[in-house]
Symmetry: C2
């Protein structure tokens, strides 16, 4: 066997797939993010001259994948698979974007954990020799998510203090069996965790236990601690959710310190009135594929753990009185001397 | 590298994952199917004593996975991953079922191609040595799909002649790196194909071109023809869709003859008034994991190609005037002497 199954949840990669390029597109509200200087394209209008928000979201996805492939110096026919997912019912942003590419397509659904899920699955498929180059991508859009998951936009509902703001953005990473760039050395797949949170406006609290489970499994499987990583990044727990994660981890004997950051907590500034911060697949996709990848490439960080969390609910499940099952998938990216 | 990438779309497995067990649950209408003697459990009521059809669908999924694991002689903690998907928004049948298992979970979305998609991805992950045992599962339910994708059940709409009937059923296959059973030798991943069909009541016509593309890619990649297979099974093209596929293939110089069968066309009998036949993830999952697996195990067939097709639309995309992009994934299962 080529790779070793360290524990029940973590796999290590012998042929460490390389992230040879990334690309990001953000919406206009995200322009005021501290991280916006690192986004590749910032839209001036969140409809991007399309006649629906759903079509705008899909256009973001298409553009992001196109540009990531181009930046990698590849022709489209050199990309063996698109591995994508998003928040839309039947992941239409991904599937409709995929018809623009003459490439095999593997659709995933992991809600806001999608960026990490696509990278973890993609890394297995490249490491195992099944594909040479794969594009891992996801996206989200405030206006499509809001009207699908919550209320019509025109209603102008008040937002509860525990809510988060779905990020309009997309990110794509090209994984390759060769080339230069940071490498994915491990992946820890998550288990579905449900602590009984039923408040659909408190996703951070629902997802924090899933984040804790995956983090602890990762540390146990790999005999590491938080101190072994220059940076630990979570997806979109938001301010409250990431504070809950810090507390939960402390109860289990792990201290998440200065080397811990949550994309949802960090993406918007305090004047943007997003309550607990950002959410959506696009949140971690945007920051991971822009600022954090830049830091890795510039050797600011040597080894980071990137874990995106997802709340696996639907409006139907909530209407039927269900709680919110959640999941978190993690990957480790290392910067080797090249 | 452990495996060889034959073409752009087909991978072959060096450590051919074994299908060590399968299990199926069907709804009451499916009891009148010719294949029902091979289903493991047939429900008497399609709500299965749950207070919503969605919860009944989820219960089918849970039960199917539980029983497939048990039949494999495994404890739950010996299963390394659940690889699942379904038709529901945010694949809630899969994700909510997964919280009942202490196992990592990889959610996929491929519409009605899901059974083949989970087996193809699962086979890569087992062949590559990342996991020892994985459960690949999917399900669909007439009453949840009907009200989500089409009309309220109470409306009693007439069904157009080109329509198909969503199968109530679920199927699970346990793939293992060891053990006895038919083995997956290859997988051909599909590309998203869109011939511009906008009639959401004619899924067979929308999916047939995707089926043709994947079949031809498979034959080209592997230097085979339809005659090299004892049986070629498609998912749920239905009567009309499978006739279109036969025509399309004939135009390309391939004759699909007596060794070709479509699960959607075959599952219901003519007196069941399903127009073009069955559809839904559960359609091919039900027949593949019952009758066809039994035939393989009894050495009636030595080598079969199983290809499930999916229509990647959502009601939102159709309301916005979009056509129906489709996909087909295929796997080859071989019965080696053991």
């Amino acid at each position: 066997m080529q790779t070793k199954l360290l524990g029940k949840q973590t796999v290590i990669f012998k042929h460490r797939p390389t992230i040879i390029s990334t690309y990001t597109v953000s919406g206009p509200k995200e322009k005021d993010s501290l991280f916006s200087p690192y986004f590749d394209l910032i839209l001036e209008n969140d409809d991007w001259e399309m006649d629906s928000y759903e079509k705008a979201e899909r256009k973001m996805m298409e553009h992001t994948i196109f540009c990531a492939i181009e930046r990698a110096g590849l022709h489209q026919n050199q990309v063996d698979a698109l591995i994508c997912g998003d928040l839309m019912n039947q992941i239409i942003s991904s599937s409709f974007a995929a018809r623009k590419f003459d490439t095999t397509y593997i659709g995933l659904f992991g809600a806001c954990s999608t960026m990490a899920e696509t990278l973890a699955v993609g890394a297995c498929l490249v490491d195992g020799g099944y594909f040479n180059n794969v594009a891992c991508a996801t996206c989200s859009h405030f206006s499509t998510a809001e009207r699908q998951f919550r209320y019509p936009l025109e209603l102008g509902n008040q937002r509860p203090p525990t809510s988060q703001w779905t990020v309009t953005g997309s990110g794509c990473a090209i994984l390759s069996s060769s080339g230069i760039g940071p490498q994915i050395s491990m992946a820890t797949f998550g288990k579905v965790t449900d602590y009984g949170v039923v408040d659909v406006n408190n996703m951070g609290a629902a997802m924090a236990p899933a984040a804790m489970n995956t983090l602890i499994s990762h540390f146990n499987d790999t005999y590491t601690t938080p101190n072994d990583y220059d940076l630990i990044i979570t997806g979109d727990l938001g301010k409250l959710g990431s504070e809950i994660l810090i507390d939960l981890m402390e109860n289990k004997g792990y201290k998440l310190g200065q080397n811990y950051i949550d994309c949802g907590h960090a993406i918007f500034n305090k004047n943007q009135h997003t309550q607990q911060g950002g959410s959506g697949c696009g949140c971690s996709a945007l920051l991971f594929n822009s600022y954090f990848m830049k830091c890795l490439k510039e050797k600011k960080y040597k080894k980071i753990l990137f874990m995106a969390t997802g709340a696996l609910l639907s409006p139907t499940s909530s209407f039927q009185g269900e709680s919110v099952p959640s999941i978190a998938h993690a990957i480790v990216i290392e910067n080797v001397n090249q």
